[in-house]
């Protein structure tokens, strides 16, 4: 597609090229937006999360009248198309395109939903999904004494609860928080990145641990996922800083100690939207594995190999096409090649060896009677 904005000089061309879609993406840029009314707690939460997200963070200092979930009621189904939600979403998309951002964090407090924190994820300049939390029990970075991690490193992530693999709401929350906290995938060498993770840098690294309150028995029993948000257990987000000590054992990895760093926040689950399936399908598309990487053994499809029910590895071998021209049919004395040639030299088309031999079984019978 032709670019609508034509860069006027080399510098702006480079800037625009940097925004083009890439196979290996950079870290997602998050915009921190304030709603019409925010509380002290929310301001602190936003400040602390921004400190964790830096340098991929942009702060909007002014208040904005946006309510992207206005059309969603408590059970997360669109009740009606609301003008408020439409205009909020369009302004979110505008900000995303202006700032090349794909995440939003919106803070807003109201009587109905005190200390509301909304995570919004974008794909291709459009809103993919939204998750809303109520923030509680915030303890800021400044309130906890001790060493702090250096900004710019993506934190280690830890999720604890079986709900993160079973319950759809928590799976979405895990995916959202991972999108928020993880950086670029350029560190992974197999995806074509050329860097690596510095093992020395793991000392003094930030760990974001996300845990859930004990699963209530109703969640275990109920098969449907439409239980009301009040019954869903709380989420505890804690941040720690790593310190390593040498091991006593023979293992390569050192013994790890964690000390609280802050912030620590508890989240209550509130409204949410599920991603549009068509949009999600596009967003989940992955680049093809490169030829050179296939040769080095990555992503190679193991063809014609399968493990049967007994656990044995079974293979299939291709033996090539059967040549029916060399098919051995009934052996008869009269049909021997040498005899045949001597017997009737004036016969038609013996020279055509290929088809002749194959046709023997069928055509010879009438021939002999003819003779």
């Amino acid at each position: 597609m032709l670019r609508t904005v034509k860069p006027k000089n080399a510098r702006s061309k480079r800037a625009l090229d940097a925004r083009e879609p890439k196979e290996i993406e950079d870290g997602r840029i998050a915009i921190f937006v304030k709603g019409t009314k925010t509380s002290e707690l929310l301001n602190g939460v936003m400040k602390d999360l921004m400190a964790l997200k830096k340098p991929f963070a942009i702060s909007f200092s002014k208040k904005n009248d946006i309510h992207p979930l206005a059309a969603v009621n408590a059970v997360s189904s669109y009740s009606s198309t609301s003008k408020v939600a439409e205009s909020s979403i369009s302004s979110l998309e505008f900000w995303a395109s202006k700032n090349d951002a794909s995440l939003f964090l919106l803070s807003q407090t109201s009587k109905k939903r005190p200390d509301n924190l909304t995570f919004i994820r974008m794909f291709n300049g459009r809103v993919l999904d939204i998750v809303e939390f109520g923030a509680e029990n915030w303890v800021g970075i400044d309130q906890i004494k001790g060493p702090k991690s250096s900004p710019g490193h993506p934190p280690l992530l830890h999720f604890a609860s079986e709900l993160f693999t079973t319950h759809p709401r928590y799976i979405q929350i895990k995916s959202m928080l991972m999108s928020f906290f993880t950086g670029s995938t350029a560190m992974t060498t197999e995806d074509g990145g050329n860097g690596g993770l510095s093992l020395k840098g793991l000392e003094g690294e930030c760990v974001v641990s996300v845990s859930v309150a004990p699963t209530p028995p109703t969640l275990n029993n109920a098969t449907d996922s439409s239980s009301s948000p009040t019954t869903l257990p709380k989420i505890h987000l804690r941040t720690y800083i790593t310190s390593v000590s040498s091991t006593s054992g023979s293992s390569r990895s050192p013994r790890l100690e964690l000390t609280p760093m802050g912030p620590s926040i508890d989240f209550v689950l509130r409204r949410y939207t599920n991603p549009d399936p068509e949009l999600l399908k596009q967003a989940m598309r992955r680049p093809k594995v490169k030829k050179a990487e296939i040769e080095s053994g990555l992503g190679k499809k193991r063809k014609n190999l399968e493990v049967d029910q007994m656990g044995d590895l079974r293979g299939r071998v291709h033996v090539g096409r059967q040549d029916l021209g060399k098919l051995q049919t009934r052996k008869m004395k009269g049909l021997k090649k040498g005899m045949f040639d001597e017997g009737d030299g004036d016969d038609d088309g013996d020279e055509d060896g290929d088809s002749e031999e194959e046709n023997e079984g069928v055509k010879k019978k009438p021939k002999l009677t003819q003779d």
């Binding site: 032709l2 879609p21 890439k22 993406e25 997602r28 994820r121 794909f123 993919l128 280690l156 992530l157 830890h158 999720f159 604890a160 609860s161 079986e162 993160f164 693999t165 999108s179 993880t182 992974t188 197999e190 860097g195 690596g196 993770l197 093992l199 840098g201 793991l202 760990v207 641990s209 845990s211 309150a213 004990p214 505890h236 804690r238 390593v244 091991t247 006593s248 054992g249 293992s251 990895s253 050192p254 013994r255 790890l256 964690l258 609280p260 991603p275 967003a283 989940m284 096409r321 029916l324 021209g325 098919l327 049919t329 038609d348 088309g349 055509d352 046709n359 079984g361 069928v362 055509k363």
Partner: protein, 350 residues
């Protein structure tokens, strides 16, 4: 003196020092995205007792497992210590932007591909060339570019009998400017072609799809569209015309076609379609029994001598069609029969 206390304390300390984790099997470590997921259910007792210490302890166990897997990854040395080579992440997160589209090929690239010309790729091409006179690397174009050499040298040769206003510098400059203009024009036409291909391919497919739907709807009435009211200027529907090979043709090709057909019939795909009733060990000239009378066939086949496997296919082929019975499948070598036509028909059916 009771030493058991001291011993227990020592054991505890040793235990603390270790990097072992008891519940590693339930920890799902995704080293690619530096994430660990602990799918153990939360213990409500410790949770209620002391929340912070409970959270810290599970976070420590999980992070230790993550550390263990990170340190066991292959690593390369660098000035900043070892770098772990991370695998690709197992948790797939939605992308922020769609995958980049491949660049449309330029006219030259298409031509080079068609002709099999392999030049240097764009990545391998360098902007600099070695200058023998200056004994240094210079730019091919751009700042102090080699293509501006004649224009910028302080003395230039003038051929004998040249005009008075002959200016070699101006000529060189004009030539260079012309080349630049030509290249720009080509670039633009490449862009325009890519744009056109993008829109027209979409349009073309839409057109064929529409035509297909229209023709299907025209024949979807009870009378197959015979009594439908026709629009003015509506064209008559064209069916698929059957085509036949000439009756006299290449004998070798004919034999090959027959053999190919035979091989196809003997293939697995064909075998699966042959039901019990159609098995070759059934005598067709006795009057073929309906397929439901399989008992009859099995009793028949018991009496008959077992036909060798290889002949089965031949017989099967013989009975494949009524035409085949006449020996059309196996034409006499050198003779021309209707087999060619038959084989062609069969292809169009299958």
């Amino acid at each position: 003196m009771d030493v058991s206390n001291i011993l227990a304390e020592q054991a505890q300390r040793n235990n603390d020092k270790s990097t072992e984790i008891e519940t590693e099997s339930t920890l799902d470590v995704d080293a690619g995205s530096i994430t660990v997921t602990d799918s153990n259910p939360i213990d409500s007792e410790t949770y209620n007792q002391n929340l912070e210490s409970h959270l810290l302890s599970i976070a420590r166990i999980g992070t230790q497992a993550l550390f263990n897997s990170l340190f066991s990854l292959p690593s390369v040395s660098s000035p900043d210590g070892p770098l772990a080579q991370l695998p690709s992440p197992t948790t797939h997160l939605p992308r922020a932007k769609p995958l980049p589209k491949p660049k449309p090929p330029t006219k030259w690239e298409m031509f080079a591909k068609a002709k099999g010309i392999q030049g240097k790729s764009k990545e391998k091409r360098t902007k600099r060339v070695w200058d023998e006179e200056k004994q240094e690397w210079v730019n091919k174009w751009g700042w102090k570019g080699k293509n501006k050499e004649t224009e910028e040298q302080w003395i230039t040769e003038v051929p004998m009998g040249a005009d008075l206003d002959h200016d070699p510098r101006k000529i060189a400059r004009d030539e260079r400017k012309d080349r630049v203009a030509k290249n720009k024009k080509q670039q633009e036409s490449n862009l325009a072609r890519a744009q056109k291909a993008l829109t027209s391919s979409d349009r073309e497919s839409r057109k064929t799809e529409l035509e297909r739907t229209l023709s299907m709807s025209r024949t979807s009435t009870a009378s197959m569209g015979k009594f439908d009211r026709k629009l003015e200027g509506e064209k008559k529907l064209k069916g698929v015309k059957r085509k036949f090979d000439p009756a006299e043709g290449d004998v070798a090709a004919e034999a090959k076609a027959s053999l190919d057909l035979l091989a196809k019939m003997n293939s697995d795909a064909r075998k699966t379609r042959i039901t019990q009733a159609q098995r070759p060990n059934k005598k067709p000239h006795l009057g073929a029994p309906p397929p439901s009378l399989t008992g009859y066939i099995s009793s028949q086949s018991q009496e008959q001598p077992k036909i060798p496997e290889k002949r089965k296919s031949l017989m099967c082929a013989k009975r494949f069609d009524s035409l085949a019975k006449d020996g059309a499948v196996f034409p006499w070598a050198g003779k021309v029969t209707g087999a060619n036509q038959w084989a062609k028909d069969d292809k169009s059916i299958s």
